[in-house]
């Protein structure tokens, strides 16, 4: 009897399964456009967040003063778990915020998920949009439509401690190989420091090593489909060069494998690193630290002297969620915070490079310190594959895992690149 009951249950279960599938729901633009209430804003948490928060608070105060009955609720979310937050917001539009800061590497996926509002008209009508640097404005566009405004450019260069270099008689590295030698010398002379804070979870520091030798993350076929290129000899050489830095005599993997970009820069700020690959957005935090007077920045050198390693052309945008019930307010806030006035304030506070050509010229004239970054930009930059699959690859941590497993000797470069390439190809093939 038990068996027949089980069988009956089994049949019922099969029937039920085919009858009832998981739910689907399309994100639609809200019908209403409220002009009061709470405007929820997601911005990224930062190393040394206070200056950023101060500028944002100022913008919020200005905005709230101009809009009666509106309260702006700003939440700072950690960059490395952003995928969970954004996915959840796309899955439940009712819980989504109204405005968000996001990395330009994620835009393709967010648009594919249908989560961002098309603000082409609004941005075109905005009087400041004409001054946006065209190549940068392009990072907010997908298939001709605009999804937000570029908030700042993120480009990285090599920070080094001038006092340490002169004390040890080191010269400024002119090739990637010299970085390794200099780092080793620093660690040997000052065991309390790491030669270069090369984080195992800091993929944007590793990418230039890859690109400098002609390696690539992925290549695009004639049909537009991407294939991972991590297993090419050039790419592997790049991975090897970067992970070589995570050695006991430079940056012990037991410490460094865990470090993200922020954590790596934090080591430099704390005075425990001789060098670090840092962004323009990190400069302020370093300036204000104890090492503020004893450091300099140069473009990250390439394989040969005189070359500049192609940097990752990062940067963050501000966008509006499609599901917002306060689209006009959201656009207003986006253009206020992403406008010239606050971009300039953000430059002063955080060092973020502005996205308006005229503002860039203005701040560059006043601040020679950003020259290494503009020089790097001018030398040519690279970008991650612009496909929704990249967000997936990023969230899975494929590149990060590759670096970390090599650094901690859980895998060889060959094995780790193989694994990462397989995971990337899978993501590429599954991308919508």
């Amino acid at each position: 009897m038990k068996k027949s009951r089980l069988a009956a249950f089994g049949v019922a279960a099969v029937l039920a399964l085919t009858a009832c599938a998981p739910t689907q729901s399309t994100i639609t633009e809200a019908e209403n456009d409220e002009s009061t209430g709470t405007l929820r804003v997601w911005l990224f948490a930062e190393v040394n967040q206070d200056p950023k928060a101060a500028v944002v608070d100022e913008a919020v105060a200005e905005f709230e003063a101009e809009h009666d009955g509106v309260e702006v609720d700003v939440q700072y979310i950690p960059v490395d778990t952003r995928a969970e937050r954004f996915n959840a917001a796309f899955n439940d539009p009712a819980s989504a915020p109204d405005v968000a800061e996001f990395g330009n590497t994620d835009i393709a996926a967010y648009v594919a998920a249908g989560g961002l509002a098309d603000v082409t008209k609004e941005v075109a009508a905005w009087d400041e949009s004409g001054d946006l640097t065209p190549s940068i404005a392009a990072t907010t566009e997908i298939d001709g439509a605009t999804y937000g405004v570029p908030w700042f450019i993120g480009v990285r260069a090599l920070y080094y401690r001038t006092d340490v270099f002169s004390e040890l008689g080191l010269s400024v590295p002119t090739t990637l190989a010299e970085i390794e030698t200099a780092a080793r010398a620093i660690r040997a002379a000052k065991p309390e420091m790491v030669g270069i804070a090369a984080g195992g979870a800091y993929q944007y520091a590793a990418m230039p090593f890859l690109w400098a030798g002609g390696g690539e993350l992925a290549t695009q076929g004639p049909d537009g489909a991407y294939t991972s290129a991590l297993t090419t000899p050039e790419s592997r050489a790049g991975v090897t060069a970067y992970t070589n830095l995570l050695a006991d005599d430079i940056c012990p993997s037991a410490l460094c494998a865990e470090w993200t970009g922020s954590a790596s820069v934090q080591q430099f700020v704390a005075g425990t690193a001789g060098m670090v690959v840092g962004g323009d957005f990190n400069r302020k935090a370093v300036d204000e630290s104890a090492v503020g007077a004893t450091y300099a920045i140069v473009p990250l050198p390439g394989e040969k002297a005189g070359e500049i390693a192609p940097a990752f052309a990062g940067g963050n945008n501000l966008g509006v969620f499609k599901s917002t019930e306060r689209k006009s307010l959201a656009v207003d806030f986006m253009t206020l915070l992403g406008g010239k006035k606050y971009q300039e304030k953000m430059f002063d506070a955080m060092g973020n490079l502005p996205t308006f050509t005229d503002v860039q010229e203005k701040v560059a004239a006043a601040t020679p310190a950003i020259e290494p970054f503009t020089e790097t930009l001018a030398a040519g930059t690279e970008f991650v594959p612009s496909t929704p699959a990249w967000t997936q690859i990023d969230a899975q941590g494929d590149i990060k895992t590759m670096l970390q497993t090599v650094a901690t000797k859980q895998a060889t470069v060959e094995q780790a690149t193989e694994t990462a390439a397989a995971a990337m190809d899978k993501a590429f093939s599954e991308a919508p």
Binding site: L17, A21, N91, A113, G114, L255, A257, P432
Partner: protein, 323 residues
């Protein structure tokens, strides 16, 4: 205190047969129990039964961000997610991690808890009170705050443990990261888990020891039996039911540890080296938005625990527990 011998029956305790149900003779009272059952049943069916069913259903589908938000059609994969899962070396690694980690925690919890229970019978009353008070404190600490304070104690630069080790001359521990490598990280998390779960074993086994009739032990002693002999021939058999339940309970708990792993290894450790099934399922679903695959992992976990539960039910039944 005789109760404690029946305690193994556990929460069930009331191992008595149901009351003679007079009222069921009349028509209205036949409905009565169902009325009382209704609120609980509604919630359990709606928020436990239905989700469980949905978990299984979802595990048969390709259910990703685009499928959820309507950007792509739903695709029935049948056992596709399972095939992918079982074909993935990572899954087996995670399963192994989970098993080894849980087994380690269970063994350590039981050993420490039982040893201290025996110890507790041999100390002065006030010492015992102090010991139990400390244990209750650890027991009461929420997983989140327990993880936080353990992490702080073992912080590479600011933690007390490294500082102390350096002070006693082990300078190699300056800045040593306890979470950098796989097994040390698991050991650290495991230590926190054992810390907050051994009190349960301590208190339970201690109560069990007290419930052993003293005449029995006295008689054995008069017969000249040695302590180890008494332990082996009297105490262990009499504590068996309690130990079985404590073990199963610990297996179920330690197999499902989430908060500690998530907080202490920052979501699964370097390169995912500290992932356990629970966290893996969460990451696959909510970070990588592979809800179908995440559900399949959830189903595997549920089935494994269901297996443990069935063993438990069998043992309950064998010990004469009447449901």
């Amino acid at each position: 205190m005789t109760s404690l011998t029946t305690a193994p029956g556990a929460g069930s305790t009331s191992a008595r047969p149901p009351r003679p149900a007079r009222r069921s003779r009349t028509g209205t009272s036949r409905l009565e129990p169902w009325v009382y059952l209704l609120p609980a049943a509604a919630i359990l069916v709606g928020l436990l039964g239905y989700p469980l069913y949905q978990l299984v259903v979802t595990s048969f589908y390709d259910y990703r961000q685009a499928n959820v938000t309507g950007g792509a059609p739903l695709e029935f994969l049948g056992l596709g997610n399972y095939a992918q899962l079982f074909g993935d070396a990572k899954f087996w690694t995670v399963l192994l991690n989970t098993t080894v980690f849980a087994a380690g925690c269970v063994v350590a919890t039981l050993a420490l808890g039982s040893a201290l229970a025996v110890l507790a019978t041999r100390v002065s009353r006030w010492v015992r009170s102090v010991l139990f008070l400390a244990a209750l404190g650890a027991w009461a600490t929420p997983a989140m705050t327990g993880s936080a304070v353990w992490l702080f104690l073992f912080d590479p630069t600011l933690g007390l443990v490294n500082k102390t080790l350096v002070n006693v001359g082990l300078s190699g521990f300056a800045g040593h990261s306890w979470t950098a490598e796989k097994w040390p990280a698991f050991a650290l998390v495991g230590a926190e888990v054992v810390w907050c779960s051994f009190p349960f074993v301590l208190v339970t086994v201690y109560a069990g020891i007290l419930a052993i009739p003293s005449e029995l032990l006295e008689a054995a002693r008069l017969d000249g039996a040695s302590m180890p002999r008494i332990a082996r021939s009297i105490m262990v058999p009499m504590l068996r039911p309690i130990i079985i339940i404590v073990t199963i309970q610990s297996i179920i708990w330690d197999f499902k540890v989430f908060t500690q792993i998530y907080v202490m290894t920052n979501g699964g450790g370097i390169g995912g080296q500290n992932l356990v099934l629970n966290v893996y399922s969460y990451q696959q679903a909510f970070a990588s938005n592979l809800y179908g695959l995440g559900s399949a992992i959830g189903v595997v976990m549920t089935l494994l625990l269901l297996g443990v539960t069935l063993v438990y039910l069998r043992l309950l039944r064998r010990s004469g527990e009447v449901l």
